[in-house]
Symmetry: C2
């Protein structure tokens, strides 16, 4: 049976707060109401804290002018760090991927954050992404290699291919992160495309053991 | 494989905001980070709105002194409405249940909001709930009937039984909402306890059709 839920609130403030929370990604009206009831119940200090931080996220943070990463400065810590290799640029979807790669501790180059992936279904075209900024970066002649580190999804592959076409005239080395069997995974549960790719793109054994 | 995720943030504000969002019910650090990134991306007006409403939930709302429902006044709209029957009190778990029953449009009595259910596992004892307020209400001699409208779970049944014992000395009519097959449901998928109860507590057919 299909149930259509209409929520009627006794208070305008609750109604508006539910609408505001329901704009967060993946949050519907019912979940938003749970959040609202939690805020009403919790200590005043915690609510003040949440309220203040929501404002600070808008006022104190900006996008780095060079790589579009989120930063407290105009130029982010990574771009302004002289010990990092600016000739190497890793292209990622958003801030979370920068975090994930930083956490590996194995990458010492710069980043370029696209702010999304090409997705005609969601109405995201190349003009909505920071792809022009990447092309501009190449014109400075300081970049030797671009690493594409995008999701292994239809949108990620489309975006990778679009960037490949865009930067082809610049004759710059273009690589992509390896697709293969995740460390700890069992072969028999891997899908055939991943397994196929991991065989095609096999690497010398000694390069794997030295990590 | 068990993966342990440590999130390291480049910005203190992001870290604090993630911690603040992660206190909402059912929100982990990864979801909190999605919320934070959304707030950073959305229009400033929307963030200001969310920030202001979070504060207003604490400053402008309170619990009704009579029924513990959430209200903008000291006494809520339902308790202060003279056309509602104060001799009938419906005991519910929280504000959402008041909303759900109000939406049926079939109840014209008062409410009493417990603020939770007895749950030793979660450390919620009768003293954490507004049960004493219910007993005090009975001493006014204005209440004729109490309707228990609590969840059909272990916690709900325990709380119902506790209230039954508490108000037994007052010799007041005590009823509980009907348990049975939901409208639109098929018998063959109903569990045997529900089906059994719906047979034991069968009602005259003409009382069902007049709704």
């Amino acid at each position: 049976m299909f149930t259509f839920v209409i929520l009627e609130f006794s208070s305008k403030i609750i109604e508006q707060a539910v609408d505001a929370f329901a704009q967060l990604p993946g949050v519907g009206k019912k979940t938003a109401l749970r959040f609202v009831l939690h805020v009403i119940k919790q200590d005043k200090i915690q609510s003040e804290n949440l309220s203040r931080l929501v404002m600070q996220l808008k006022t104190d943070l900006r996008f780095c002018e060079r790589c579009h990463n989120i930063s407290e400065q105009t130029i982010c810590e990574i771009c302004s760090n002289p010990s990092r290799d600016e000739s190497l640029v890793c292209v990622v979807q958003d801030y979370r991927d920068v975090m994930a790669i930083e956490n590996t501790g194995l990458y010492k180059g710069h980043y370029h954050v696209l702010g999304g992936l090409i997705s005609p279904l969601e109405g995201i075209t190349p003009s909505n992404l920071n792809i022009d900024g990447l092309v501009n970066k190449l014109q400075s002649n300081r970049v030797n290699e671009i690493i594409l580190a995008l999701n292994a999804t239809m949108e990620g592959e489309t975006t990778s291919f679009y960037i490949f076409r865009k930067i082809a005239p610049y004759n710059i080395k273009l690589s992509a992160i390896a697709r293969g069997i995740a460390v700890g995974d069992e072969l028999e549960y891997a899908d055939e495309i991943t397994l196929g790719r991991s065989i095609t793109n096999r690497v010398p054994f000694d390069s794997q053991i030295k990590k």
